[in-house]
């Protein structure tokens, strides 16, 4: 098994290098230079050229790439272009906020999705089941940023139940939870629909299996059969969905973070790209890819632990 994971790690590391190289190339190809964007209108061509030279932007692209990777291997991820602040601490400081949002979001989705999936199979082919089917398909189609804006307009502007922006003050746990509610809901809606449908499908398949028929013939209650015998088969696909979904959310929460003005990795990357702050953008993307790789590895480990058949294979 160690050999298996070792091979997987090598593959994923090469994915990391490939992704960062590709994204770095794209970043440098975006028109516009940071000097024009960062400096005021009063900046003369001499001032602009001075900043371009200081930032090394007048070097050939291959030289810049080489210098960048040389510094990475020595632990230097560069500096913010105008302020000179080191990049890596700022990027890493954004990760916990995205981590909290993604973790709470995905586990909230998992809980609600599983409950709804179990209920829909328990009341299979009833009106309730059909309603849930329509609702989950709708939820699956809802785009996160549309959900975010809708939730904000209803619950913040119209009802004033929850704040629209920010993360709450440090030390104010209740305030921070209140600031988390709408972003988590916006993130979760489509995942709830997705998880509900996966759970329902897996349970529907296993309800017709031989061992379930045997359990029924022994008079075991239907509810117990579903939860104790059928649900275990849903664990493997759910683990994959949840863990890779979590990894995707770590880098893909940019819309939610931007709309709700929350600090986070996604928002940091987008702001850096807008400002052509290349070092910040590249460091942010690298961190996001590493987190995704960790999530994928985690999914494989958990599946191997839960499902002995994988270990034997």
């Amino acid at each position: 098994m160690l050999k298996y994971f070792g091979k997987r790690l090598l593959v994923l590391l090469s994915v990391l290098v490939g992704v960062v190289l590709f994204v770095s190339t794209l970043t440098y190809l975006i028109p516009g230079d940071p000097a024009t964007i960062i400096l005021s209108q009063r900046a003369t061509p001499e001032v602009r050229q001075k900043l371009i030279h200081e930032l090394g932007l007048d070097l050939p692209p291959l030289v810049r790439f080489g210098q960048y990777w040389w510094k990475i291997f020595h632990g230097d991820f560069g500096y913010y272009m105008l302020s000179g602040r080191p990049v890596l601490p700022e990027v890493l400081s954004a990760v916990p906020y995205t981590f909290i949002l993604a973790t709470v979001g995905i586990f909230f989705s998992l809980f609600i999705g599983m409950v709804l999936g179990i209920l829909s199979i328990y009341y299979k082919d009833t009106l309730f089941d059909h309603i849930l089917d329509v609702l989950s398909a709708t939820a699956l189609s809802v785009v996160q940023y549309v959900a975010a804006l809708g939730l904000m307009l209803v619950f913040s502007v119209a009802l004033d139940w929850f704040p629209a922006i920010g993360m709450g003050d440090k030390g104010d746990i209740v305030g921070q939870i209140r600031h988390l509610v709408l972003p988590v809901l916006a993130l979760s809606i489509s995942w709830i629909g997705y998880i509900q449908r996966i759970v329902r499908q897996v349970l529907a398949e296993t309800l017709f299996s031989e061992y379930v028929k045997t359990a029924k013939s022994f008079g075991i209650p239907r509810r117990r059969i579903i939860i104790r015998h059928c649900l275990r088969n849903a664990v493997k696909p759910l683990v994959t969905v949840v863990v890779t979904g979590w990894g995707a959310l770590l880098g893909g929460s940019v819309f939610i973070e931007s709309i709700f003005a929350r600090k986070g990795l996604g928002r940091l990357i987008v702001t850096a790209l807008t400002q052509r702050d290349y070092y910040v953008a590249q460091a942010g993307i690298m961190v996001a890819v590493v987190l995704f790789i960790i999530a994928v590895m985690l999914a494989e480990i958990i599946n191997a632990v839960v499902d002995p058949r994988i270990r034997l294979e």
Binding site: S40, A43, K50, R85, K263
Partner: protein, 496 residues
């Protein structure tokens, strides 16, 4: 008895806590902060910087006049080259960096020139700054400079830094912990997320803004955040935002019309280098329609670059109206009787409806636009290249020279790449003319030259302003918290 005493103490403590004045927090947004070095960044950062830094003189109550501030008085020498300032005494810098003195004035202004910071252009006529004594300082110019009190001292190039803080911390650290003499000091800064400033206990002056804390955040949709009650005000720089703010329930907007708005006609384009081709475009445009649609009922039509009310306003500027027959005559004179195709640059972040009107107007005379719609940062990189027609606006200050300086030859932000030696000579002359009337005439003549050459088609004046929650804040008599260019000086806001 003991239990009773404890109960009484607890009740009293609870009452004190319940009735203790809650912290007064002003919540706002601003443009993204690249740096706290005010001489290096755009004026959109002034809402934050105006709380931290101050000036020797400042604009008085939303006008172009100045009043003493960190300088309590000044004298100008007979030849107009030297200004001697007497400084306020006992003014303290934040974070225990001591008293503000003449050394800080010398440092703040000279570093801009020595380090060639972006605002060095404002001080290009400076010879040196001389410290006479602890509270007296002289600005010695190479020649009389009329812009000292119009755009240099009361704006970005004149904000005062603490010499000791900058030298001790270094530029990189100073960007995280700026030190000034303002009524608020920065206590936390999360990149792209929030800036928190708290009341500076040792502030020397009389406070207008009575808040304990000011928090700036950067939401993508400030209007919704205002309506949700999460912000008290949001500076905005577009007619659409102002119009939305005025219509939204519970919100209102104040603004000043100080951004001149025009269609830039690239003068080095192979086709448009012919003045007849540019005149054809000007004659084909329906400027009234553009103003009506893209001005959102806020922006008025204008016929000259310098806005009304400023010295140098050209009130007799020709009032062009749409004339398709004339446009076709100009096209024929340019050698393109059936029209031509030219590239056009549009900013996809603003979704400006003017772009479609311009496209349709010009199509009627056979001029086809190859529209390149790009995101905001790319737009501002490509606009100065002089390769595109574009509809654009620049802000102005209470000095027509500032408005016109962008169009001297070889200026980076001369989007038309228009070059006229007489214009350049007049500009240089105007920068050294002290007589206001004579200077105004020079600036009018400059606008005439641009108009004769049809380097641009004037559209109007766009607003800079603020959307705010009614009942949350007040901007003072004559909206004095809005500087003369519509950018907000947060230190002059009153909380309700």
């Amino acid at each position: 008895m003991k239990r009773f005493s404890v109960l009484v103490i607890l009740l009293v403590a609870a009452s004190v806590l319940a009735f203790a004045a809650p912290e007064k927090v002003l919540r706002a947004t601003s443009t993204w902060q690249a740096s706290f070095d005010t001489a290096s960044v755009g004026s959109g950062n002034i809402p934050v910087h105006s709380l931290i830094y101050e000036w020797l003189v400042r604009y008085k109550g939303g006008t172009a006049e100045v009043e003493p501030w960190l300088a309590k008085s000044w004298e100008v020498s007979k030849d107009g080259t030297t200004v001697t300032f007497r400084l306020q005494q006992g003014v303290q810098f934040h974070k225990g960096y001591g008293e503000f003195t003449a050394d800080d004035v010398k440092f703040s202004i000279e570093r801009i020139v020595k380090e060639k910071l972006p605002e060095a252009e404002t001080w290009k006529n400076l010879d040196r700054v001389e410290v006479v004594d602890k509270y007296t300082v002289k600005l010695i110019m190479k020649s009389p400079t009329p812009t000292i009190f119009t755009i240099a001292l009361p704006f970005q190039a004149g904000q005062i830094f603490c010499k000791k803080a900058v030298e001790e911390m270094g530029a990189s650290a100073f960007n995280k912990t700026p030190v000034g003499t303002g009524p608020f000091e920065m206590t936390s800064f999360e990149v792209g997320q929030s800036i928190t400033l708290t009341k500076f206990a040792k502030y020397w002056g009389k406070r207008t803004l009575d808040a304990d804390k000011v928090v700036f955040s950067f939401p993508s949709d400030p209007l919704t955040a205002l309506q949700a009650g999460d912000l008290d005000f949001a500076p905005v720089y577009s007619a659409l935002n102002i119009a939305d703010g005025k219509k939204a329930a519970g919100l209102d907007a104040v603004f000043r019309l100080t951004r001149f708005w025009w269609v830039s006609l690239p003068c080095t384009d192979p086709i448009l280098k012919d003045v007849n081709a540019r005149k054809a475009i000007r004659a084909a445009l329906d400027i009234d329609a553009i103003v009506k649609v893209a001005g959102f009922g806020i922006a008025p039509r204008g016929y000259a670059m310098v806005p009304p009310g400023l010295p140098g306003y050209w009130k007799d500027a020709p009032k062009y109206s749409r004339d398709l027959a004339k446009a076709k005559e100009f096209l024929k004179a340019a050698g393109y009787p059936n029209g031509f195709t030219v590239p056009f640059l549009a900013n996809s972040n603003t979704n400006d409806p003017a772009v479609e009107i311009i496209r349709q107007n010009l199509a009627e005379v056979g001029i086809k636009l190859d529209v390149n719609s790009v995101e905001d940062s790319t737009y501002w990189s490509l606009a100065p290249t002089g390769k595109y027609i574009t509809i654009i606006s620049y802000q102005t200050l209470p000095d027509a020279g500032y408005t016109l300086c962008w169009f001297v030859s070889d200026q980076f932000w001369n989007t038309m790449k228009w070059s006229n030696k007489q214009f350049d000579d007049l500009y240089n002359k105007g920068q050294m003319t002290m007589d206001k009337n004579e200077r105004a005439q020079i600036h009018i003549k400059m606008q005439q030259l641009m108009d004769d050459d049809c380097a641009m088609a004037y559209v109007g004046y766009l607003p800079n302003g603020v959307i705010y929650r009614k009942g949350a804040v007040d901007f003072g008599p004559n909206n004095e918290a809005l500087l003369v260019n519509g950018v907000v000086d947060t230190s002059r806001i009153r909380m309700k």
